[in-house]
């Protein structure tokens, strides 16, 4: 049952242009979903470009995807899924008013988030040193340079999209880690209770969405085809 300090915290969070705290919570959650809708369209533009060039330059995309480290990619997928579990359990703890458990689970989520970024940084470093970054330093060879099986320029587009998509995804991860950190700090101060945990729920939605994007990025960028390897 709610304690009096929790009730006070919930009342402090109540904004007076709403009729009730339920209306406020529903509204906040719906607002978050609408925001995720815009995020879907935001990444949608990139996925559309990917679709077009994969259609046009399939062989070059195969060549590019074979430079990906599938092990690291798969591990990172698993890390993100684990972080989603801890996030979901964290929201659950907030719903049930278990503050300590919530903080611990959110901290675990942050650790997984950093784990993901760390592994991603290793991959980025590898691509960087292999000149797999678009621009003047880009260098990509497929077999005999006089008779290239694919145009290196087309593979450069693959890498351009790879960096843009995973880079924006990583940026979302960084923002997500910042938001969860804020939840941890506020949560330790007792800001959330079963009556008021909208921020936890909505950051959770955001976190799962970022996971969702990766669920598609992984097969599209890493697992195109292994036929030459």
């Amino acid at each position: 049952m709610a304690t009096s300090t929790e009730i006070q915290a919930a009342e402090r969070s109540f904004q007076h242009h709403f009729a009730s705290i339920e209306q406020q919570r529903d509204t906040a959650t719906f607002g978050m979903w609408m925001f995720l809708l815009t995020e879907i369209m935001f990444f949608g533009g990139l996925f559309c470009s990917y679709l077009v060039y994969r259609h046009n330059y399939y062989e070059a995309f195969v060549e590019g995807s074979q430079k990906m480290n599938i092990i690291l990619g798969a591990v990172n997928t698993a890390v993100l899924i684990c972080s989603s579990l801890s996030m979901a359990m964290g929201v659950r703890a907030a719903q049930m008013g278990n503050r300590k458990l919530m903080v611990i689970l959110l901290l675990i989520t942050i650790v997984f988030g950093f784990g993901f970024l760390g592994i991603k940084a290793v991959e980025y470093h590898e691509h960087w040193t292999n000149h797999e970054f678009p621009g003047p330093n880009f260098h990509f060879e497929t077999g005999d340079p006089a008779h290239p099986a694919t145009d290196p320029l087309h593979t450069e587009i693959y890498f351009g999209l790879y960096w843009a998509m995973t880079g924006l995804h990583a940026l979302h991860m960084i923002i997500g880690i910042g938001l969860v950190t804020w939840l941890v700090i506020a949560g330790m101060r007792g800001a959330y209770s079963p009556m008021y945990y909208s921020p936890v729920e909505n950051v959770g939605l955001y976190w799962h969405f970022v996971d969702l994007v990766w669920i598609y990025l992984f097969p599209l960028l890493y697992l195109i085809s292994h036929k030459h390897s």
Binding site: M34, A74, M87, H208
Partner: protein, 109 residues
């Protein structure tokens, strides 16, 4: 303002059993493994179909359970469907151009 006595009964604050979360997590992990293994099988054009199918199953699990869509108002479902619809519009109408670029560009005479 109304304060719910037992927030657990409110349909919008549905508390999902921890066991369910863990089984969803397990399913996601298994599907990740399957998608990696499936990519090594040479299925021709079906590689991408399988990969996207698995990704969509995983995505659906995340959205329905982790994101509580299953326990959310219909309006939320409508928003999700709308976003998928407009993504589909963007992809499919763009591809009408790319898929038919090479079609007959000569007069039939």
């Amino acid at each position: 303002m109304a304060r719910p006595e037992q927030p657990h009964d409110d349909e919008y604050t549905h508390v999902v059993p921890a066991a369910l979360y863990i089984s969803i997590w397990a399913a996601l992990m298994v599907f990740t493994l399957i998608t990696v293994l499936a990519s090594f099988a040479e299925l021709g054009p079906f590689n991408i179909v399988v990969a996207l199918l698995i990704a969509t199953i995983k995505g659906t699990l995340v959205v329905l359970f982790f994101m509580h869509l299953r326990y959310s108002p219909k309006l939320t479902m409508a928003a999700v469907i709308a976003s998928i619809f407009f993504l589909f519009i963007m992809f499919s109408l763009t591809m009408t151009d790319y898929l038919s670029r090479g079609w007959a560009t000569f007069a039939g005479r």
